[in-house]
């Protein structure tokens, strides 16, 4: 059942990306191009997404967590618990923003564009995976250097029981 839910949520997510035209890199770049032919559409994408998710999160999911209830088909809520705004978060956001600005493509639209069989999409995904592996290797090296147990990342998920 979990796998079917995953499949259907993936489908719905992709439909949302396509309907909102997030899958069109030109649309994304024109949104970011505030001094040029600015197309504010993506502000509405984010607004619509945030409205639905935030309402559902605070009125349904938070109440469920408060009552120590589980997700419908799973054993626990995997919600990031980290609070610390650290260097990795900031440096990561700068790199991500630079890549997003250069291409107009972020991970979701890249995947939803696979069936276009556009070679550039495959190249993008290949390079994205390489970037992820290099980032992981970098983090491992820096972890080994400091050799301190990182409590922050160990407690990065919270269960329904330790939330409140």
């Amino acid at each position: 059942m979990k796998l079917i839910v995953s499949l259907l949520c993936g489908l719905l997510f992709g439909i949302g990306l396509t309907v909102s035209q997030m899958v069109n890199p030109q649309k994304v770049i024109n949104f970011l191009d505030i001094t040029g032919n600015w197309d504010p559409s993506l502000m509405f994408v984010m607004g619509g997404g945030l409205l639905v998710f935030a309402l559902g999160f605070f009125f349904v999911i938070n109440k469920r967590i408060a009552k120590k209830q589980k997700p419908v088909f799973a054993e626990q809520f995997f919600i990031p618990k980290r609070k610390l705004i650290d260097k990795n978060l900031l440096v990561g956001a700068v790199f991500f923003g630079a890549g997003w600005g250069l291409t107009g493509i972020c991970p979701g639209p890249a995947m939803a564009n696979v069936l276009s069989f556009e070679p550039k999409i495959f190249a993008f995904i290949g390079m994205m995976l390489m970037g992820m592996f290099v980032a992981r290797a970098t983090l491992k090296v820096s972890d080994a250097k400091t050799s301190v147990v990182d409590n922050d990342s160990l407690s990065s998920v919270m269960t329904a029981t330790d939330s409140k």
Partner: protein, 143 residues
């Protein structure tokens, strides 16, 4: 290099599509207890990077197949990629590296994170938006 391609302002389809993104993320968390953060789902779909790749593959399969569903309803989609190869290569790497290091991208931080008022996600999203705007300004108006 100046590429000036207009796109039409489409507030209604943007709002509808955005609402669908929010609904998908909400249902995923409510039913499966997972955050719909695409960069983490992609990186976690490799066994060497996570312990439970199956549901991630399933989600990604849905994401990849989604255009087919829209074709069934005669929904026409067009997206042309006018980005140069060098930008794709560099940009793709930066997106992967940055989202892994920064624990998320437009979906995980931008929707799920801000949606639950996570300070980390709010900071991350503001920062990557500003950087992306600067990069677009440089690449479209200065180069």
């Amino acid at each position: 290099m100046v590429i000036l391609m207009m796109t039409e302002f489409t507030p209604f389809s943007a709002l509808l599509g955005g609402a669908l993104l929010g609904l998908s993320s909400l249902l995923f968390l409510l039913l499966n207890g997972r955050i719909a953060g695409i960069s983490s789902i992609v990186s976690g779909s490799f066994k060497s990077l996570s312990s439970s790749p199956q549901w991630r593959w399933s989600f990604l399969l849905g994401l990849v197949l989604s255009p087919l569903v829209l074709t069934l309803f005669d929904y026409q989609t067009s997206s042309s990629i006018d980005i140069t190869w060098s930008m794709i290569i560099v940009g793709g790497f930066l997106v992967g590296f940055g989202s892994y290091l920064g624990s998320g991208c437009t979906s995980g931080h931008g929707i799920c994170g801000i949606g639950r008022l996570s300070p980390r996600s709010i900071v991350s999203t503001c920062l990557f938006m500003v950087v992306a705007i600067i990069v677009v300004f440089i690449s479209k108006h200065l180069l």
